[in-house]
Each structure stands twice: as C-alpha cells, then as structure tokens.
Amino acid sequence: MIQLSKNYSLPERQEEPIPIKVVGVGSAGSNALDRVLLDGMDKNDLIAVNTDVQSLVSSVAARKVQLGRECTRGLGTGGDPELGYQAAIESADELRQSIAGVRMIFICAGLGGGTGSGAAPIVAQLAREAGSLVIAFATLPFSFEGKRRAAQAQDALARLNEVANAVICFENDRMGDMVAPKAGIHQAFGVADMTISQSVRSIVNLIQRPGLIRIGFDDLFAALRTQNGRCLFGFGESDSDNRAHDALTQALKNPLMDKGRMLSEAAHVLVQVAGGPGMTLSEVEILMRELGKHVRDHTQIVFGTAVDGKMGNRLAVTIISSLASEDSNAPQSTPPIPEPFLAPPPAALEQIEPPPKIDPPSVAAATYGAAGVQPEPEVVPQAERSPDDSIPFEQPQPVAAEAPQPLPMPSIRKPAPRLIPPKKKPVIEKESKPPQEKYVHAKQEMMQFEPITRGRFEKSEPTIVEGQDLDVPTFLRKNIKVK
C-alpha cells in the first residue's frame, strides 16, 4: 500500500515548472513587475523593457533591455507610440535574445503612452516568432487622461490582439471602483498593479500546479478566445470557516467581473479551485453550485482543481472568461505571425519536443499535447469537421511546416474560437427558449389558504395604523412575492 501511494505521487514531484518570463514594457509595465516580484515571483523571471534609462535603472527586474539606444538616447518617448515602435524595432535583436527559449511569456504594459503602446506589440510579435505563448496584460488609461491617449491605447490594444495569444485588458477606470473614494491616487494605481500581479500569478499557478483535474493551455485559450472582447478575470482567496463561499465572493468582486453580472453573458468560464490538502469535495461542490447561479445554463464551465501543500489552510478560486464583442470574431480570429520578424526558433522547438515522449503526464502533454495526445472529444472532431478553417492559419506560418510541434498551438487555438460557439449557439436557442415560454404559461396565481399570521406578535396588542395591522409582514400585506 505504501508503495502504491508513492508511485501515485511520483510523477507530480518530478515535474519541473514551465519556463516563463514576465516582461514589463514601459514604466507602467515595470511598476507592475515591482508588484509581481513583491508577490513572490522569482526575480530571474522578470524582464524590464523600456526606453527611459532612469526608469529602467530603478526597476527590480534581473534582466533589463533598453530600447532605442539611437533614436531616443535613453530618454522616454514622450508619449509617442511611433517612437516607441521604432525604438523596439531598433532593439529587436536584444529583445529576441532575452526571451529566447521561454515557453510562456507574459507581457505587462500600460497602453496609451509611447513605449507601452508602441513597443508592447513588437515584443509580443517577437515572442510569438520565437515559439512562445504570449499572454498580454494591458491596462487602458483612465478616461480623464484624455481622448488622445485613449485612442492610442485602443490602437495598441488592437495590434496586441492581433499578435498575442491572449490579451487580458484592465480598464483603469474600473480599478477606481475598487478603491475607496478617499484613498490616495497612488492607491488607485497600486490596485491596478496588484490586480495584474494577481492575474499573472494565478495564471502561472493555473498552468503549473499539479492538478487533480488539470487545466491546460487549451482550456485557457478556450476561455479567453474572443478577439477584442472583454476579458473577465477574478481571483479570490480565503482561509475563513466558510472559505469556499468567501473566496468565490472575493473573486466575483474583482473589478473585471462587474460583481459577477458579466459572467451571465459568457459562453465559456474557466474555474480553478486550488487548496491545501484539507480541501474537501463538499467545499468545491458548494463553490461550484454557487458559481452556477451566476452563469447561464448553457455556459460551458471548464473546471479544474489542484491540491498544493503550499496553500496551507487557504482556498483559492480563479475565474477566467471573456465576452465576445458585438461584431462576430470570425473574420479576425487567429493571429498569423507577421512576416517582417521571421526568425526560426529551432532551439525553442527542440526544448518543447522531448517532454511528451518521455513522460506523458508531464507539463507539455497536459498543455500543448493535450489536444493531440489525449484527444478531448470536442477538439478533435471539430478540427476534422472544419478543415477549410485551419488551412489558412497554417499557410502564413512557414515555421509550422518545419517542425511538427508548433502546429498544435495554432490548431488548438483555432478550433476553440471557431468551433465551439457555432456549435453551442444553435443548441442554446433551441434549449433555452421553449422552456421559458412554458414557464410563462405555467405560472399561475397561488391562492392563499393560510390565514395571514402575525408571528411573534400573535399575543401582543396589534399595531393598527391607517387600517392596516403592521405586525403582519409588509411583504405579505403588499402581496409581494419574495421567493
């Protein structure tokens, strides 16, 4: 028996973390890096990228890349995205070096300024070319910063959307809601950084934590699939008596969730529940049932759970989802890797390849390989059904032809956005509408047989004002149904 349990836990222990890097672009990005470091990420995983040398010097990141030595000469861009773009192009080689061989890259940038807006898309592009997965965390400026900045930010966001695998976008205006009205402005910005850091951390944990029910990249992308849509993200952690409830409440309170109201419109919701060894099934059940009330019946919930000794008594919930923008996302879909920076990344590919062969349950299998090795019923049949869809994506990617490995990445990403919604939507309409109509018909006024009671005031002198006995509950007298 002892042997069995040892064997059981072995594969998990041997797992080595996926190499990741967090890149902060611009000064907003490096602020976010400061926070990420404070929250317990390794210094060596951080890369600060900026045009402004002063800001770069004060950054905590172990690796720093100065952009545009020639064109900005160590100064900032003065809010000009064009300059930021040129600076990034100038330093493209250095950037490429710094991110080489990394499986997963998080880019933090504050959009609206020069460096963030101009350089972040380039960094994302270079990373994609190097074969990494790119998740961008972008903050949009406060609306009081002016329309010009907002427009620049939207431009940059659109470009990021084109190149990055997923973009999680934080609106600073919403962050303001989280801060007490009297709190200082630094706190408002602090909250924005904190939220970014939380997101980075929880996505890293999501991918890296040994999962009982594992969530892989494919699930993550399915949840984040929309283009130009709004990303919903929530994270909550609690160690109270009622921790399942508290953690979920906290997650729903995240400003990106709008108190959970937006969840009701999402088509995919990814939930990961992580806790210490003391996490019970009933806790998870309570939590999921409660979450179920915030989403519609047809919403697909991708559920993952993980036990991590480091969590101790705490229980953490991560909710990730996205809302489609009004215009259908079909025409834009997957970002083809743009031409100008084509640089075959053989090193990166070889690193990726071995794990699936050696150790099936390892990270790569669960992430990239998941679609291929352990075919999920959804992904595979979809890919078969829509061969014409997947062709255009492979074509613009010459790299794909050389090595088998990069293929699954786009193909995982593609089917998710395309296939699931069209499949689901007709079903929704069929399923949800008729029962609604039925309900309307079935609804019937209930006749009250019980005499109206006065509860605990039964024996005391009635309070009769204006002909009404006020001891009878108001909702009964006004005939308002409360349940």
Binding site: R261, K293, H294, G455, R456, E466, P473, T474, F475
Partner: protein, 402 residues
C-alpha cells in the same frame, strides 16, 4: 469608585436592557464608568408584558453594570417607550395683575401650570412639558421672561404624555428590585440629548430612534422640541418578517439580520447567497441575499413612509435644516441612511452618542444612545435642582429641557 455624583440610566428595551453608569464631575463633564446589559425577555414593543421575567432581566443588567463600574446603584433614570406615548404643542397664558408689570418666577410657574390645563385622556399622565418659547405681550421668541416688563405672558409648551398604568408598570418593575426611580424620560428625548448638538437643534433636526420594538421620533426646530411620538414598529418586526418570509427560526432570523442584513436593493450580486450553517434542530439553508434585503427594505420603507406621513401632519418638518439622525439598534443595518434620505428627501445620518468622556467605545454604539442620553438628561436636570433628596413625584415638570 465614583468620586462625583453618580447618575444611572436604565433603558428597558424590547431586545435588550441596558444600564449606563456615569458620574458628573465638578467641571461639569460627564464620564461613563460602565455599561451593563442583558438580553430582554418579557418585553414587546417597548412595554412589559411579562412582569416577572422582565424584572429578572433588569436585575441581571443592573448587576452587570454594578460589576463593571464598581459602584452600588441605588437610583436610576428610566427611559420609557411604547406606542401609547404621544406629544403635542399647547400654549399657556397668564395675565399679570394690574398693579404689577414685572414678570417674576411665580408668573413663569403659573404659565406652565396653565399650559398643562389641557384635556388629555383620563387614563393618561404627563411625562414631559418642554418649553419652546415665551411670548411677552405678543413679542415672540423670548427665552427667559423673568424680569421683563409686560402684562400678558404666554408660553408654548411641547407636552409628552402616555398611559399612566403602562408607565407605572415600568416604574414598578424597577422599584421591586428595589431601586429608586429618579425620573421617567421619554426615550427619544433622551437620545436626542446626546445625538444632537445644540447647533443641530437650532438648525432643525429629526431624531429617529429605531429600537427593537418601537421607533421613537422627536423633531427639533429652532432649538425647541416641536413634535414627538412613537410608532410601535421596530427591529422585532423586521426579524419577524425575515423569519416568516424565509421560514427560519426567530433566533436565526435575528442573527441573519444583524450579520448580513441590508436595506438597499439591487446592490448584491445576482444569485448571491448566504449560507446558514446547520444546527441542532435546524437543517442548513441557503438564502438569497436579495430576498433578505427585499424583506428588510419593504418593512423599513413602510416604517419611514408612515413616519413621514405622521410628521407631515404638522408643518415643522419643512423647517428641518440639519436632516435626519437615525440611531438605535436598527440604525446598524447597512444602507438605512440612504433609504431614509430617499424617502424624506433630506440628508440622513446614522449617529451615536457624541462628546462624552470615559468608555468611548460604549458611546459609539447607537444601541446605547438612549441610555447614555438619560445620563445627559439627568445631568441637565440636576444642574437646575438643589442637591438632596427631594421626593420626585411622577409626572413632574422639567422646564429647562430644551
């Protein structure tokens, strides 16, 4: 041990009995020495319905206060409430004799007696006659007429009265303990002493003390009491509504109200629930927060609307400049100030007793506003009175309370 004069306020509330012990210091400040309380039983809507039980509870609270403040309590000021208590305004008038035109103390006393010569129901007794303003020969707004010249002295009084036997029940309950009753004070009047500043009284303010069984109100304009009364609706009604609406036991409903209750609608997450853990005799239950808030909201809205209609019978509410001050245990419900503000269309504040020395943490709880107010009231009365044991007759006048 207390070094100055000891004053004790006792409030027999519907949900709890609380005793506040304070001392007046030589410099005129009031220091709170201790607060004793006990859950109340045998009291409904501010009135004693089970004499024996209520007496035991009062005893418990007094003993608690004695222990905490380390003093012996001999006499108390008692706060009363109950739906039978009413207030109205009356004007008294005396003509000076022809051969004299300087108003003296005797004339002022006469005018008070005169003002009380109004018909209140036979079974009722006066609780307070509170001077608003004097008029000398038609001159308005005289505060102290003694020494002025004039022929005709008039005085506006606000008179608060209630059913004699019911008030006596409360007094008897205390006297049986035995404790001496120094005075009987209308609850909201006491609360107003510590909740409002003189400036707010001058600006005009409505104090609403929502306790367990009753909602007491008192309205000040120009520094004088203009309206007062009691609605026999309180926190108990909310608890009862919750208990019936959600079908949970009263004790659970009470706890749920205190821990989670709020009265603003549309402010919670869709489908947000509160989990009631199971307990012996009670299977756990999940409750939608919006349902809970709806029940509370409906009851409080109705209470405020009723209160508004009541105070609007007279024009004084229009002269209220400082707004509404909500106190009492129910004021702890979140969002109650928004609701009151919305209904009365004026600023509403949740307040507690202000500016006292000693146990400030006790002061900051709106549940104690009445009991602490009793101390302040007693202090104000004692300044006017020679020290020593004059036997207090029930229904005595206290003209300086303003």
């Amino acid at each position: 041990m207390a070094s100055g004069d000891l004053i004790v306020g006792l409030e027999i509330g519907t949900s709890k009995i609380c005793v506040v012990v304070g001392e007046t210091r030589p410099d005129g400040t009031l220091k709170i020495l201790g607060v004793g309380q006990a859950p109340s039983r045998g009291v409904r809507k501010g009135e004693i319905v089970d004499f024996e039980t209520a007496m035991k509870c009062v005893h418990e609270a007094v003993v608690d206060a004695e222990q905490k403040s380390d003093v012996m309590i001999r006499s108390v000021y008692v706060g009363v409430a109950g739906g039978h208590i009413q207030g109205f305004n009356n004007r008294g008038c005396v003509m000076l004799p022809e051969d004299r035109d300087e108003i003296d103390d005797q004339d002022v006393d006469d005018v008070k007696v005169n003002a009380r010569e109004v018909s209140i129901p036979a079974q009722n007794a006066f609780l307070h006659s509170i001077i608003q303003h004097y008029h000398v020969d038609g001159q308005d707004g005289v505060l102290n007429p003694v020494g002025m010249l004039g022929q005709k002295l008039e005085a506006d009084f606000h008179i608060i009265h209630g059913v004699r036997t019911r008030i006596q029940n409360t007094i008897r309950c205390v006297k049986e303990l035995p404790l001496e009753v120094e005075d009987v004070v209308f609850g909201a009047l006491a609360s107003a002493q510590v909740v409002l500043t003189q400036h707010q009284k001058n600006l005009g303010a409505l104090v609403v003390d929502i306790g367990g069984g009753t909602t007491d109100y008192i309205l000040y304009v120009d520094g004088a009491v203009k309206q007062s009364g009691v609605l026999a609706i309180g926190g108990d009604h909310i608890t009862n509504d919750i208990s019936m609406g959600l079908r949970i036991p009263m004790a659970r409903a009470e706890k749920l109200k205190i821990d989670e209750g709020g009265c603003v609608l549309g402010n919670c997450l869709p489908g947000e629930t509160i989990l009631l853990k199971d307990d012996s005799g009670f299977a756990g239950k999940e409750i939608e927060r919006e349902t809970l808030n709806t029940i509370i909201h409906l009851r409080l809205r109705e209470t405020f609307e009723l209160l508004k209609r009541t105070v609007e019978e007279e024009p004084f509410i229009n002269y209220v400049g400082a707004g509404i001050f909500i106190t009492g245990g129910c004021s702890l419900l979140s969002g109650i100030d928004h609701l009151a503000g919305e209904i009365f269309e004026m600023p509403a504040h949740v307040t507690h007793a202000q500016t006292l020395a000693g146990l400030t943490s006790a002061v900051e709880n709106p549940q104690f506003a009445t009991a602490i107010g009793l101390l302040k009231y007693a202090q104000a009365v004692q300044i006017d009175r020679p020290r020593g044991g004059i036997t207090r007759i029930f229904g005595r006048l206290f003209n300086r309370m303003r």
